[in-house]
Amino acid sequence: MPRWWNRLQSKVYARAWWLSERYGRRAGSFDDIPLPPLAPLRRPLREARVAIVTAGGVHLSEQAPFDMTDPEGDGSYRVVPLGTPPSALRITHDYYDHAAADRDINCVFPLDRLGELARAGEIGEAGPRHVGMMGHLSGAALGLLVDRSAGAIAALFQQDAVDLVLAVPG
């Protein structure tokens, strides 16, 4: 599909929730992948180090954009350091309408909001590294995410001694 068609579809989905519900039902299920038992929060939220993963295609302007030419998507990920100003971030993702998030990245990547909750003492602190990736993956791209990227992201958060991760869709 040409990129303009994907972008047009994403605008329609953003305005017609019933279509996205239908899309979700057609996306199938991962019933064959059992959910892991819940990991406990090791310290109270007001002391916890929190990191964000967004599937909204967020990356640094200087990093390679996600591949929009592969119809299966791009299963790689980008690391966003804490303190990155919104002006240094970009969204590359043709499969949802990110016009609002282009104006305020916090719509899909609430790094500023996380910092504010930390300043107010509601959480301990924001982690030193956060992650951008893409939703809308299938085939080999989904395989790359599951087999490679997910483990690398988990290891990165372990190194950073992150206590809690928030995952945000696009």
């Binding site: 998030a101 992201i153 988990a154």
Partner: protein, 87 residues
Amino acid sequence: MVESVGIPTVTLSVVRSMTEATPAPRNVFLRFRLGQVLGEPGAVAQQQAVLRSALGAIETIGQTGGVVELPYRWRREVYPPPVGVSA
């Protein structure tokens, strides 16, 4: 995957069928728009409220695959004043 290494996760969603088909360990659903999951651009109070509630779900979801639905109604809501905003 992150949950499997012992770090708890909370996953936001605005598409209910997606959450039902592919649940994460802890799911927080709200009736917001795709691409504006935390709220509208520049709506600091709204975005903080969603973020606070999403993180708070760590203390209320006790079963893997559990779902919490947030009550927020987009603009038809009085959100608490923003916290932690530098002058």
